[in-house]
Amino acid sequence: MNNSPIKLTLERRWVHKGVAIAFYLLLVCSALSIAFVYESTTLWYKIGMDKTMLRTGQLFGLLTAVQLLFQIILAVRGKSLEELFGVATLMRWHRANGIAISLFAMCHVALVLAPEGITNFPIGKKYWPEMVGVLLFLVILSMAVSSLFRQQLGLVYARWRVVHRVFGYSALVLTTVHVLFVSDSFRESVPKIALASGVTAVIIFVLIVKLKGRRKQVRRKT
């Protein structure tokens, strides 16, 4: 796989890996800090266990969103990441992350609903950001289930891949809309800018990788 003309030395590779992982951890911690620094008003009216559950639910939600952004990066990969970690490792992370995202999303839904009463579902027009969240949850679950049990479900790989990709990008859009409108924490400019920057960075990353891939294909043909 490693056919780059500029090969990284082992030492440099470890430094790059360390930087990449540190950057990832920094982003995760920054995202999680939003639940504390830009506390939502819903937390004001939760006491004791209810408050702990709601806050933990919000943390799981933020974690799901961050992991979803990284999931797209892991799926698209790009040459630099492939060189650094290897395709097999990235694929393994992508699969594990997919399962983690589903679990985080489940925890988010359960813990956010529990303090208001598990049967007190936010259904209706005025709860549209929550409804977007439900749709996102279903997209995430269907992606995880169809990936884990693709063969048992008799899904043809090529078709599954196309649908998986479409669902993946849809999840990105749904996440952005859900996070931006469901929580009043994201009415503050810093969290809003952070989310916009994260999503934009992922989109730019995808576009760069895709464009490079296309150029490579054209070069090969000519």
Partner: protein, 197 residues
């Protein structure tokens, strides 16, 4: 024979006359122009809201208060305070417990003329399955030909009452104790109802 016919006619006329006098006019709520508003203190400010889904029955005749009555049924899930998350919280067991108690009802038991166009409507206000006596002073705005609906008359009432939400078990007092949400709720009832002329 003639005598018998006159007697029957007299009896029938008397009976019809009495029924007409006894029948209290029924009024159909104009939901677009009626509402149950409320205001409750929050630290220093007042949060206002209303209920969007309700039904009611108004039988009113100022000359026959004994047979007049008011009945209202309000869906607790229809609470609207302009903040969706707050509405969901108000529907939860912390306040209305909408899943177990989907309705609030008010059923009048007695109407008295308090003078100055005010009618004191005494009745049972049932919230979260518990009934409490409540006197709702309604100012009778009058009856007039509806300016927009042909052949219909409109009746109007407005009234204000303050209740202690904790007496009605709407919340256990934890938000009141922490100084966040007040316990006195100002209710403003404004009604328009229609009836065929």
């Amino acid at each position: 024979m003639k005598r018998l016919i006159y007697t029957i006619i007299t009896i029938v006329l008397l009976f019809v006359g009495q029924t007409a006098q006894g029948a209290v006019r029924s009024w159909e709520l104009d939901k677009a122009h009626s509402n149950f508003y409320f205001g409750i203190g929050h630290i220093f400010s007042v949060v206002q809201g209303h209920f969007t889904d309700y039904s009611g029955e108004i039988m009113f005749d100022p000359n026959n208060l004994e047979e007049s009555h008011f009945f209202f049924e309000i869906k607790t899930s229809s609470i609207e305070t302009n903040v969706a998350k707050r509405d969901k919280h108000l529907q939860s067991s912390d306040f209305f417990d909408e899943k177990n108690f989907p309705l609030m009802t008010f059923k009048s038991t007695k109407i008295t003329d308090a003078g100055g166009g005010v009618y004191e409507v005494s009745g049972n206000f049932t919230v979260k399955g518990q009934s409490h006596e409540l006197v709702l002073p309604l100012t009778f705005a009058g009856i007039k030909k509806h300016p927009a609906m042909k052949g219909k008359e409109v009746i109007g009432f407005n009234g204000k009452v303050t209740i202690d939400r904790l007496a009605y078990n709407v919340g256990n007092g934890k938000f009141f104790d922490m100084g966040g949400v007040g316990k006195d709720v100002d209710i403003f009832v404004t009604l328009e109802a229609l009836s065929k002329k």
